[in-house]
């Protein structure tokens, strides 16, 4: 059928035209005859109903509501946890905070339990995955918060401060909560290194019923948490308390035993059924630049170790120059200030807004008086008489090439900064030579342990490795995650299962959208994130006191109440459906009384609803869904308003009457009653 040049079409003149005209009438009749023979296309309503599409935007219903339904909590042994996460992920019910956390800590469940005033339970829930919530509650870089759906609306939930709050509350009930794990397996596992990854693996193995022996070369356990993280971020008693908790679970902790020196690794392998290497990275990398052999050139780890242990790194009154822009560099700079450096300058390759460290870290550092000079690369250390007198830097034009690979392009501009100490904070490396001596463990040419990044096995059966020694420099929570995975591998190994078979569920790695910043001027204050109170910068640089204050109880409960419970399919009364509705057809009020939180009012005025679906599209919990109902006749206008009970109807069938829902919500009655009083 081709489109004609012109749609104008005339009958011919004369007899031919007359015939055409007559034929046109007959053609018309023929078309109707064909239609009659084709038969009706009618749907015989109500006996027959047209199938409504899956996406049909019928009246809304709630799958569940706070107060009426319990919130799902992601709990379980490490061996079952991945399955849970995987199932949620494929059902698109995995909350962003859980999915984005390397260890899949249930931040959503924590917020729910805290807001419900079940803080100790919240602590225990978090500890299942994040074995040291008190520690991580102070130092974690909280990837959960960047994937928090709340970023889309205003500001993310303060998950990390809530960990800290939960830890502090837990201390009150700690004595009755601590019980040693039951030993159900005869096998024992040796864990070498007491950093976060080793601890995580030990924790899981203890819960699985193994006997665990942990060797630590240092006097005190904690690994990098103790030697690397400054005390103003992590008070040592918190770390000690949480390690003690794990020891009380049955961990056999042996401090001051350096494997490879005090005890050969081969012996350990013989004595135990499995060995886990969680030794971390012990030495700093220093760039091979001219002048790095001068006095005053130091590595970041050694610097931090000295500063943390003794409170004096030998830089009192000196000018410190930190090379690097990562978190370690910032830590170094801030420790340097606290141990008395007269001036601390930080230099990094990247531009100001693309520094690799976390933005809040550098912001706090700048507040304290650290000077950051960006877009500079190190050229050489200027020394006089074998002692550092300055640092020569070269302008950096760009850090990454078009494909996003690290390939700095340097300019021709040089700057020299006078200083007395240069600290290189450009990375760390493992120190394995004494450890692996005399075993079959293979080490790659670059000094890295040969190990699988997914199964955490090494070249020797029965010897596993986890933590930064495998992954390279990373975050504490990522190390903990490798610990959990390694524990699964060890469990499978000791149970006689293949470590890497298909039955083993891998944690899915979702990708979350980057949320654009939200204009906060129009946001009501009670919707905003509770601000974290900090020590004043000029006072806190004097010593290693904690910078952050943490939440008070009320603040914490309110902050936890902000959580949207993404993907839980239980409405938490976040009000964003009502805010998104063009016509305010929804009225949502939540009762935030701790211990009996509920959605007090959820009213849908069906007559204002324009069935646009914007509310259900943005519902973070997926509790608000469209039904396939379309028979919406009412004898009275009043019944077109659906209350919570009616919103919780099953949604089956094609009729929504506004009266077939569940019983009136107890919470709603209570609120009404209170108002009456």
């Amino acid at each position: 059928m081709r489109t004609p040049q012109s749609v104008t079409d005339d009958f011919r003149d004369g007899v031919a035209g007359f015939l055409e005209r007559t034929r046109s009438l007959i053609t018309g009749v023929m078309v109707t005859v064909r239609a009659v023979r084709r038969g009706p296309v009618t749907v015989r309503y109500p006996a027959e109903k047209l199938t409504v599409s899956d996406r049909w935007r019928g009246p809304l219903r709630l799958r569940g509501a706070l107060g009426a339904d319990t919130m799902p909590v992601l709990t379980g042994l490490p061996t079952t946890h991945n399955e849970t996460i995987d199932g949620l992920y494929h059902a698109e019910r995995l909350p962003g905070c859980v999915g984005n956390c390397p260890a899949n800590v249930d931040a959503r469940g924590q917020a729910y339990l805290i807001a419900d005033d079940r803080v100790a339970e919240a602590y225990e829930l978090v500890r299942e995955r994040n074995i040291m919530p008190g520690v991580l509650g102070r130092i974690c870089h909280h990837p959960c918060e960047s994937a928090c759906r709340r970023n889309h609306y205003d500001e993310p939930i303060a998950t990390r401060p809530l960990h800290r709050f939960a830890f502090e509350e837990f201390q009150r009930v700690r004595p009755e909560k601590l019980t040693p794990c039951e030993r159900t397996r005869q096998q024992t596992v040796a864990v070498i290194g007491s950093g976060p990854s080793g601890m995580a693996a030990a924790y899981d193995l203890l819960r699985l019923g193994y006997g665990v022996v942990m060797y630590e070369s240092d006097e005190h356990p904690g690994g990098a948490l103790r030697t690397g993280v400054p005390a103003y971020r992590l008070p040592r008693e918190v770390l000690g308390r949480e390690i003690e908790d794990i020891v009380e679970m049955g961990l056999d902790l042996k401090c001051g035993v350096e494997i490879g020196k005090d005890l050969p690794l081969g012996k350990v392998v013989q004595d135990h059924d499995a060995v886990l290497l969680a030794v971390g990275l012990q030495q700093s990398r220093i760039l091979p630049l001219p002048g790095t052999d001068s006095r005053g050139v130091r590595g970041a780890l050694e610097f931090l170790r000295a500063g943390n242990r003794t409170g004096d790194a030998g830089v009192r009154g000196k000018r410190v120059f930190v090379v690097g822009g990562g978190n370690v560099a910032v830590d170094v700079a801030r420790v340097a200030l606290r141990v008395g450096a007269s001036e601390v300058r930080l230099a990094c390759l990247e531009g100001e807004d693309e520094m690799p460290c976390h933005p809040w870290e550098i912001a706090e550092a700048l507040d304290e008086g650290v000077i950051a000079t960006c877009s500079l690369g190190p050229d050489s250390v200027v020394s006089r008489d074998g002692a550092v007198v300055g640092m020569r830097m070269r302008a950096c034009l760009s850090v990454f090439d078009e494909t996003g690979r690290f390939a700095p392009k340097m300019g021709d501009e040089f700057t020299e900064f006078p200083c007395d100490v240069v600290v290189f904070a450009i990375g760390q490396a493992a120190k394995l030579d004494t450890l692996v001596a005399g075993t079959g463990l293979l080490v790659s040419g670059r000094g890295q342990l040969q190990a699988s990044g997914t199964d955490y096995t090494t070249s020797v059966p029965g010897v596993f490795a986890c933590g930064e020694v495998i992954t390279g420099p990373g975050s504490a929570i990522a190390s903990i995650a490798t610990g959990h995975e390694a524990a699964i591998s060890i469990d499978r190994y000791l149970s006689g299962l293949a470590v890497d078979d298909d039955a083993r569920v891998r944690r899915p790695v979702p990708r979350y959208p980057h949320y654009p910043p939200v204009a906060l001027e129009d946001v009501e204050p009670d919707r905003r994130r509770r601000p974290q109170r900090l020590e004043p910068p000029d006072e806190r640089v004097a010593d290693f006191r904690p910078v952050e204050h943490g939440f008070t109880r009320d603040e914490a409960l309110l902050e936890a109440g902000r959580c949207l419970q993404c993907g839980s399919e239980v409405c938490v009364g976040c009000t964003f459906c009502a805010r998104t509705c063009p016509d305010l057809a929804l009225t949502v009020v939540r009762d935030d009384t701790p211990g009996s939180r509920c959605v007090a009012t959820y009213e849908m005025d069906l007559t204002k609803c324009c069935f646009c679906g914007l509310c259900a599209e943005q519902c973070p919990t997926n509790a608000l869904v469209h039904t396939g109902q379309y028979e919406l006749s009412f004898y009275h206008r009043e019944y077109t308003t659906f209350h919570v009970g009616e919103m919780l109807r099953s949604g089956e069938g094609t009729r929504a009457t506004g009266r077939d829902g569940g019983p009136a919500d107890a919470c709603a009655e209570r609120v009404v009653g209170e108002e009456a009083r």
Binding site: T8, H514, C612
Partner: protein, 367 residues
């Protein structure tokens, strides 16, 4: 007869295609003057838009041209995208083209059908509407609504094509031209219909341009102007299609242009479906759009070729989350203004035919 008879048609009259009152002055049966009185469906959407966020306006635009909701959605979204500088993924653009061409079919089915019903050929209306129902079924599967789709959104479209939709769509566009041929033979070839519409309400090309007519109304008069081809937007430059034209500008040409546009739409949809297969599913929305879109200060106008002609949206932003002013340039409004010009001198029955051939939708005329 010297005395003039004044007849008031509407505002609720079976053939006004909505709520329009026409005050007709008759000399016998000859119309000496016809004055459309519009505004019976003026709901103040432009005022409402000033207190709605950019996303919340999309459902409002659905209710402008309720016979072809997708168009208003798209025109509005184009204006927002221009104002906020949003780039739309190509897959989304293809989907927009597909749904809008299907919408053109749905809308023209209504236009042809009601033009037929105005001349008393009610059965043709049923046949045309049956085709419309098929399109509506496709839309229902796509976005869960039969009429007010809220589908095209600033930055893309709200949902990707569901499983099996492409096949259903192909089945439809394969069968549709045959149905059109049937309607062409039954209605446009019919001697009575031709007698009723040929030479009635003749609009010459110069008048069409001067009165700002667009769409099938202008093209029926031979004004070779189609925004899809002459001010190409979206993916239209990648398709091969012709623009059907009339010669005389009478009611017949205006109505039959619509019929052939449907056939051309089928061709465009077919090409679009072929080209769409190369794009990865799921990429249908610009990433990183904030919940409350707040473009910077400024104004933007953008338009598309809707089933009724050039549908434009003019947005003024003061930097807030709601537009400062939204104006909808409605083709039906401009086209309806031609009614007094076209109907004068014809009989009362022809007035109805002329009105039907202009195919106004009063939601869009009155806004």
């Amino acid at each position: 007869m010297s005395e003039r008879l004044v007849v008031n048609i509407g505002p609720s009259h079976p053939s006004t295609h909505g709520v329009c009152r026409i005050v007709v002055e008759l000399d016998g049966e000859i119309v000496t003057h016809a004055e459309p009185i519009i505004g019976h469906l003026h709901r103040g959407i432009e005022k409402m838009a000033e207190n709605r966020t950019y996303l919340q306006i999309v459902p409002l635009t659905d209710r402008l041209d309720y016979v072809g909701s997708m168009y208003a959605n798209w025109a509005y979204c184009r204006a927002v995208e221009r104002l906020a500088g949003i780039r739309v993924p190509e897959r989304a653009e293809y989907i927009r083209v597909i749904v809008c061409e299907l919408q053109r079919i749905a809308s023209h089915m209504m236009g042809i059908g009601s033009a037929a019903a105005d001349t008393g050929a009610f059965t043709v209306f049923m046949y045309a509407f049956e085709q419309r129902e098929l399109v509506v079924d496709l839309f229902e599967a796509l976005c869960g609504s039969r009429l007010t789709y809220n589908y095209v959104r600033p930055g893309g479209v709200s949902a990707d094509l569901p499983d099996g939709w492409v096949d259903r769509c192909r089945t439809f566009i394969k069968g549709h031209p045959d149905a059109m041929r049937e309607i062409d033979r039954m209605l446009f070839g019919n001697v009575i219909f031709r007698a009723r519409t040929k030479g009635i309400g003749v609009l010459d090309a110069a008048d069409a341009v001067a009165w700002g007519a667009s769409g099938p109304v202008a093209r029926g008069s031979g004004v070779d102007y189609d925004l899809r081809r002459d001010d190409p937007y979206s993916m239209y430059p990648r398709f091969d299609f012709t623009v059907p034209l009339g010669e005389r500008g009478d009611s017949y040409d205006r109505a039959r242009v619509r019929l052939w546009e449907c056939v051309e739409s089928c061709r465009i949809v077919e090409q679009a479906l072929d080209q769409l297969a190369e794009y990865e599913p799921g990429v249908i929305m610009t990433e990183g759009l904030p919940r409350l879109l707040a473009p910077g200060r400024g104004d933007a106008y953008d338009h598309i070729e809707s089933a009724r002609g050039c549908l434009g949206v003019y947005l003024v932003s003061d930097g807030g989350v709601c537009p400062y002013r939204m104006k909808v340039r409605s083709p039906a409004f401009s086209n309806l203004a031609l009614l007094p010009l076209l109907a004068t001198g014809h009989t009362l029955s022809d007035l109805i035919v002329v009105l039907g051939s202009l195919d106004p939708v009063f939601g869009e005329v009155d806004r």
